[in-house]
């Protein structure tokens, strides 16, 4: 009789404990799911490739296919990959920029709310300018401004086909 009572009307503390453990199990299961789906998505979305220097990674999201193709036809195809021009050459700046662009590019492409045709952001344009200078400073140092932050001509204003051939 007493046992039957316990079964049908459990004490509040017990029911809470039971709810607790139920929630814990649910969370554990869901954490497992999120880890599994997350790991799969990471693999399926070639997440590891974003840590590399491989230029094909940039065409992962298809939008960059045209830019990739035009780079392959450009004068720089043998000497510089995407990251060489579009990321800072300093290791910290490189990874910060990579994370920043990686996140916002993925967001833009997923939500499909970006400008067409794609335009480079001012910050990334500065990155590219410094990348040009990093390699070519020996031949252009006479054209550089006297002060470190002074205004300078943008290399790609004239050499717009250096990295991406026009045809």
């Amino acid at each position: 009789m007493a046992e039957a009572t316990i079964k049908t009307t459990p004490r509040p503390a017990d029911s809470r404990r039971r709810l607790n453990s139920l929630l814990s199990v649910a969370i554990a299961v869901m954490l497992g799911i999120v880890c599994g789906v997350g790991a799969f998505t990471f693999g399926y979305g070639k997440g590891w490739s974003y840590l590399s220097n491989n230029p094909t990674t940039c065409a992962n999201c298809h939008v960059m296919q045209g830019h990739y193709d035009s780079w392959q036809n450009s004068s720089h195809r043998h000497v510089a990959v995407c990251n060489d021009c579009h990321l800072p050459h300093h290791p910290v700046g490189k990874w910060v920029t990579k994370a920043d662009n990686g996140f916002f590019h993925s967001l833009a492409f997923t939500l499909e709310n970006f400008h067409e045709p794609i335009q480079i952001k001012p910050r990334n344009r500065r990155v590219t300018q410094h990348a040009c200078l990093d390699c070519h400073v020996d031949i252009v140092h006479q054209m550089l401004p006297a002060e470190t932050e002074g205004e300078m001509l943008s290399c790609v204003h004239c050499h717009s086909d250096a990295g991406h051939a026009h045809r």
Partner: protein, 546 residues
């Protein structure tokens, strides 16, 4: 037992409630993350699928499928754009999308330019591809004058009709199996010759007799026109129904470009022609075999947006034997003879009787002289720019003026603000308009002078060289004013052509006026030698005198 059942709610509440809440919140967060990750996974998957640009061939299309609707079932993105060619939005100078206002009323000099020719009856701004057949059926040029069946070479989806006529001419049975067996160039060429010499009404009737791939379905896709089995330019005219590859189908173009390739004319913008010229030349140049895909993106447009002869005296032809420039085409016409041996001309001018040439719409030829052609930019790059549909890249089939779509049409290459680009185009077009105005004024004054000379009794021998000048001047003015870019396709070339037109008009005017002017007196007035501003006595001694 009774104690514990009543008591613990008080004792256990304080430590248990927050933990419960925390767990619930955590559950919600994890659920949200799972939701997001799954959504991301699905978008990645969808974009991957889009990037493969898959299509499902739900409906079979073949070499008679001139009706675009079944194609639209298979390729809905392209079809949606194609259907939008019904939209009519005007640019500053008409362009491809204007409402059909009469050009004759806006520019009264055109009536004098085309005097004696059907274009002086009815000549309007062009509309989108959707209207090409309907507008031709209703123009007074066709309804009031007998026109040639050759007109349908470009205004209708006509190739299966050519093939059918060709098969019939060979004495075979043109059933659907024979019509869909393949492209059958020999039959198409033969049918093209047959239809070119028909009158417009007969050729149009032949068009209606050819199956269009949707038997029993006669609903028009576009408002107005397009009756039954006849369609304006459609998918099959530029695409192979088996592979979707871009192709040219118009016999006029295929023969014309082969003649151009065989000529000596410089065509630096057509790399495949230059490669063919360096080869063994055993086969004639065939755009469907030799041209690059990028060249084909212009050639498909060059099938119709060109200069040609298309009246009934002989089979339609593109006058490219000597090259694509205005004077090279003129040379081809000058050297050409009709099949009966008489010299070639388009019409005898109604006011003076001079034999003259009529320019059609030499967009391909003028583009060929411009900076865009030289830089490898095709017609489709600006008039059918790439659009993104998710991860898919689709060439817009809403063929229209780039000015209506500057973002996709121009800014892919020109990284300057839209306003600036529009101003650049309008500067070029405004200059062309003003030069056309001057050329038109010179042309009408030339006509007045020639008519006055005729009234004064000038002989045919005296008028012959003046008629030659009149022909040259009118051909050049017409070449630029009939072309549909208002000079933009090649601005310097347009200005050069109009400059020549003005010069020829004034030469003719002067020559005609001289015919009835008194003999010029002998001129013996000496010409003044050069004088310096320094007085002679102060000038330094010249080296020769010292």
């Amino acid at each position: 037992m009774a104690d514990t059942t009543s008591d613990p709610s008080q004792t256990a509440r304080s430590p248990w409630r927050p933990r419960l809440l925390l767990l619930a919140a955590l559950l919600a967060v994890v659920a949200l993350v799972t939701f997001g990750v799954t959504a991301l996974l699905v978008t990645i998957f969808e974009h991957r699928q889009e990037a493969r640009t898959p299509f499902v061939r739900l409906v079979e299309v073949n070499e008679v499928s001139t009706d675009p609707v079944p194609w639209g079932t298979n390729w809905p993105n392209q079809f949606d754009g194609y259907r939008r060619t019904v939209d009519t939005v005007e640019t500053e100078y008409g362009g491809s999308s204007a409402m059909p206002a009469s050009k004759l009323e806006a520019n009264p000099w055109l009536r004098r330019l085309y005097a004696g020719y059907a274009f002086s009856i009815d000549y309007r701004e062009a509309r989108g591809h959707a209207y090409m057949l309907f507008d031709q059926e209703v123009t007074e040029r066709v309804t009031k004058r007998t026109q040639s069946g050759a007109c349908l070479h470009c205004h209708a989806s006509v190739i299966p009709t050519y093939r059918r006529l060709g098969i019939e001419a060979a004495g075979e049975k043109p059933d659907v199996a024979a019509l869909t067996a393949g492209f059958n160039w020999p039959a198409v060429l033969e049918g093209f010759r047959v239809a070119s010499t028909m009158d417009y009404a007969s050729a149009h009737a032949e068009l209606l007799k050819t199956p269009d791939g949707t038997p029993g379905e006669n609903l028009p896709l576009f408002p107005g026109g397009e009756t039954g089995q006849a369609h304006p330019v459609s998918c099959i005219d530029c695409h192979d129904p088996k592979t979707m590859q871009v192709r040219v189908t118009r016999p006029g173009f295929v023969l014309g470009i082969a003649a151009l390739a065989a000529s000596e004319a410089a065509v630096p913008h057509l790399a495949s022609v230059n490669r063919w010229r360096e080869g063994d030349r055993k086969q004639p140049y065939d755009p469907n075999v030799h041209a690059s895909r990028q060249e084909m993106r212009s050639f498909v447009c060059g099938q119709c947006h060109v200069e040609y002869y298309c009246a009934a005296k002989e089979t339609l032809f593109f006058p490219w034997n000597n090259g694509l420039k205005v004077e090279q085409i003129e040379q081809t016409y000058d050297e050409h003879k009709f099949p009966d041996g008489t010299p070639f001309y388009d019409f005898a001018h109604g006011e003076t009787g001079a034999p003259t040439y009529k320019a059609q719409h030499p967009e391909f030829e003028l583009w060929s002289q411009g900076i865009h052609a030289r830089s490898g930019v095709s017609c489709a790059d600006c008039h059918m720019p790439y659009e993104r549909h998710g991860a898919m890249k689709v060439s817009s089939h809403w063929v229209r003026s780039p000015l209506l779509n500057i973002n996709n049409a121009c800014q892919t290459c020109h990284n300057v603000p839209e306003v600036e680009l529009r101003e650049k185009v309008e500067t070029i077009q405004g200059r062309t308009v003003s030069l056309i105005g001057r050329a038109a004024a010179a042309m009408t004054e030339m006509l007045d002078a020639i008519r006055q000379a005729q009234a004064a009794g000038a002989t045919p021998e005296q008028l012959a060289p003046i008629f030659e000048l009149q022909k040259k001047s009118m051909w050049r003015l017409d070449f630029v004013s009939s072309e549909n870019s208002m000079g933009f396709h090649a601005d310097q070339e347009s200005a050069r052509i109009l400059g020549e037109s003005i010069d020829y008009s004034r030469q003719a005017e002067v020559a005609a006026t001289r015919l009835r002017a008194p003999e010029a007196p002998h001129v013996d007035q000496p010409t003044e030698p050069v004088h310096g501003v320094t007085p002679t006595e102060k000038a330094p001694a010249s080296p020769s005198s010292s």
